[in-house]
Symmetry: C2
Subunit: 366 residues, 2 copies
C-alpha cells in the first residue's frame, strides 16, 4: 500500500492505564481505585469549571469560535502579551506537534534531555528527524550547551520542570542556555508544570513576556491539564513572537479545541481559590512522600512538579512493585520503559497518599 516506509518502525505513545481498564482486568470497584499515574489534579474538577461545562452543553451542536477570542484575551491579560503572541492547542502536545512539523524533516536534529517527555521524540520520529539526548536525565545547562555546540540541532526542548523526573533548572541557568544558542534554532520551554515550580521556589520562574521580548527564537508552552485540572478537555497554549505564532497557526487545523473545552479553560483561569488549594496540597503532601523516602532509604528526585520519582536499588524491582500496587487498586507510573528502575507517583490527596505509602511500605517489608 502507499504508506510511507518509515511508519513501519514507529511506535505509538503508551498512555497510563485508565481506571476502566483496571476495573475490567482486576475486578476492583472503580470507587476503590486510586489513579496517580497521569499527574491529574487530585482535587478533581473545579466547581466553576463544572458549572461552565454544564452551561455550554446545549451549544455542542455549534462549531467552536475558531478565533478563540475569549480564551486568548484572558491569557493575554494573565501573561501580559498580545493575542497574536498566543496559539491554543489540543493540549500543549498539539503545539509540540505543530512546532516539530514546521521545522523538522529527515535531516533535522532535535536536542532533548536523556529522560524527558516522550512526545518530543515521538513527534520528531513522525517527521523522520534525529533525536540527540544529553547524558543526564536531569536537565544540566552545561550538557545542553555542549551538545548544542557539538550537534548544531534545529530545535531544542527544555522541560521546565522536567517530566517524568521532576527536576527543574533555575531561571538563570535557562537564560545561560538561551544565550549560547543561535537565533536560527528554535528553543521550546515546556512549562506544563511551571506553576508548581515557582510556588516552591521563585528561582525557577520563567515569565513568557520577558522571555519572548529577549529571545525571538523561544516558544513558551503551558497547559490546562495539570494545575487547572482539565486533562480530559485537551487545552494547552504557546506564547512566542507574532511571527512564530503566525507560522504555527498555518499548521493548526480549524476548530482544534472543542467549545466546551474553551469555556472550561476560561472558567479554570478565573478560579484562583482552586489553584491555590491545589498548590498548597501539593507542597504539603510532597513533604510526606519525601519523609517516607528518607525513612525507607529510597532515593528520590527533588521535585518541582505535582509528582515525585522514587528510584530503587537492586533489591526492589519497579515493575513488580507497580504490579503489586495495581492489584491493590493503585495506579502509578512505572519508569522501566524510560530505562529506570523507578516509579513516578502523582501527589494525591492526603487520604490517597496515605494508602499509597501504606502499600509501598507493605511491599518493601515482604
Amino acid at each position: 500500500m502507499g504508506f510511507k516506509q518509515y511508519l513501519e518502525s514507529l511506535n505509538s505513545y503508551e498512555a497510563g492505564k485508565p481506571i476502566e481498564l483496571v476495573v475490567r482486568d482486576y475486578g476492583i470497584y472503580a470507587e476503590d481505585i486510586i489513579k496517580l499515574a497521569s499527574n491529574e489534579n487530585p482535587l478533581g474538577t473545579s466547581d466553576c469549571v463544572i458549572k461552565a461545562i454544564k452551561k455550554e452543553a446545549k451549544n455542542a451542536f455549534r462549531y467552536p469560535d475558531d478565533s478563540m477570542f475569549e480564551l486568548k484575551e484572558a491569557l493575554s491579560k494573565k501573561y501580559r502579551v498580545y493575542d497574536k503572541n498566543i496559539i491554543i492547542g489540543a493540549g500543549s502536545d498539539q503545539i509540540i506537534d505543530f512546532i516539530i512539523k514546521a521545522i523538522c524533516s529527515k535531516s533535522s536534529k532535535v536536542l532533548i534531555s536523556a529522560t524527558t517527555f516522550a512526545m518530543y521524540e515521538i513527534y520528531a520520529k513522525h517527521n523522520e528527524a534525529s533525536v540527540i539526548r544529553t547524558k543526564s536525565g536531569i536537565h544540566k545547562a552545561d550538557e545542553f550547551i555542549d551538545e548544542y555546540k557539538r550537534h548544531n540541532p534545529n530545535l531544542v526542548f527544555l522541560c521546565l520542570p522536567n517530566n517524568p523526573l521532576g527536576d527543574c533548572l533555575d531561571r538563570n541557568e535557562v537564560y545561560r542556555i538561551l544565550d549560547s544558542i543561535s537565533k536560527d534554532c528554535i528553543v521550546v520551554l515546556d512549562c506544563a508544570y511551571m506553576q508548581f515550580a515557582k510556588y516552591k521556589d521563585k528561582a525557577k520562574l520563567i515569565t513568557p513576556n520577558e522571555i519572548i521580548g529577549k529571545y525571538q527564537n523561544v516558544i513558551y508552552l503551558g497547559t490546562f491539564s495539570k494545575l487547572y485540572g482539565l486533562g480530559g478537555l485537551r487545552v494547552g497554549f504557546g506564547i512566542a513572537t507574532d511571527s512564530i505564532i503566525a507560522t504555527l497557526n498555518k499548521l493548526r487545523p480549524p476548530f482544534n479545541i472543542t467549545n466546551v473545552s474553551l469555556k472550561a479553560a476560561l472558567a479554570a483561569l478565573k478560579d484562583k481559590k482552586f489553584t491555590q488549594e491545589t498548590l498548597k496540597n501539593n507542597l504539603k503532601e510532597m513533604a510526606v512522600y519525601e519523609d517516607f523516602a528518607r525513612t525507607n532509604n529510597i532515593e528520590y528526585i527533588d521535585s518541582y512538579t505535582n509528582f515525585i520519582t522514587f528510584i530503587f536499588s537492586n533489591k526492589v524491582d519497579s515493575t513488580q512493585l507497580s504490579q503489586y500496587l495495581l492489584k491493590n487498586g493503585i495506579i502509578i507510573r512505572n519508569l522501566k520503559s524510560y530505562g529506570m528502575n523507578a516509579i513516578r507517583i502523582t501527589i494525591g490527596t492526603k487520604k490517597q497518599n496515605k494508602r499509597v505509602l501504606k502499600y509501598i511500605s507493605k511491599y518493601l517489608k515482604r
Copy 2:
C-alpha cells in the same frame, strides 16, 4: 528562523463567521442571529447528549480513555465491523490529516473534485503534495477514472455527498471508480453527510463493512458534527482494514478526543428519535428551498446533504447578497472563494428558513 520554506505560501482554513463576531461587528443581538453557514444541526443539541455532557463534567480533570473502548464498541456494533477497523479523530478532519500525512510528500499527487471540501487541499499542501482536480465540481465517475489513469495519483478523495455542492454519486458509480483504481492507491470515501443522502435516496448508500471487505485500499469516513449535532465537540471516525487503521493509529496523538466528547458521541448514537427528526425536518425544508429557487429562477444543485447551493446569474452577486443577509443577522456561506457566484445555505428550522427566504426575496426585488 528554522521553519520550512514552503510554510510561507500556506494559507489557513477560513472558518464560517461565528455568531459572536456578528454580534461584535454589527451590533445585532445574538438571539436574533440565524447561523446557517456551517451545516450544523438546526435542532441543536439532543437532550440525551446534554445530559451525558453534564454527567461527565466532573471528570474533566481525568485524561480520556485513550483506547476509546466504549465509543469504538458502539460504532463497531452499528457498522458491523471490528473495533480494530475503527479510528476515532477530532472530527473526520483529523483523520484526513493522518491519511495525507501517512501517504504524501513532495512527489505525491492527490486527486479531488474541482469543487469539494477545502481541507483535502490544505492538508495536501502541509505535506507539499500536488493536488489534481477533475474538470467538474460535481463528482463524475468518468472524470475521476480518466484523471486517475492520466496522473496515477497516490490518494483519491470522493466526497459522498459532496461539500459544498450537495451532489452525490450513486453507489454503483462509486464502485465503478473503485474497480478502476489500483490497490496501491488509497481511496477515501468522505461520508460526513451520508445519512442525509441515503435517507433521500437508497441508491446513494455506502456500507463501510461491505466496502472494506471488497476494497482493501478504501477508508470510509464519518462524523458526529452533522446529523448527530456535535460540531463543537470534534468527533469523527474512520473505518478500514485493520492494517490501514494500525498505520493511521501510529500518527494519532494520545488523547485526541476529550472525555466529554467521547461520552457525548456515545449518547448521540443512541438517540434515534433526534436523528430521525433531523432527517425528516431536513427533507421537508429542503423542498421549501427548492420551491423557492424554481419560483425565482435560481439555479440550484440537487442536494443529498443538509444544505443547498444556489447558483446565481450575473444579475445577482453572491458576495453582495451574503453581505446583505449578514446585516440582517443571517449568516450563510458565500462560495466566491470556491470560484462560484453562489451561496450555500444550511437547511434550518421552518422558522429560520422562512426568514432567510424572506430576505433573499427582498434582496432580489430591490
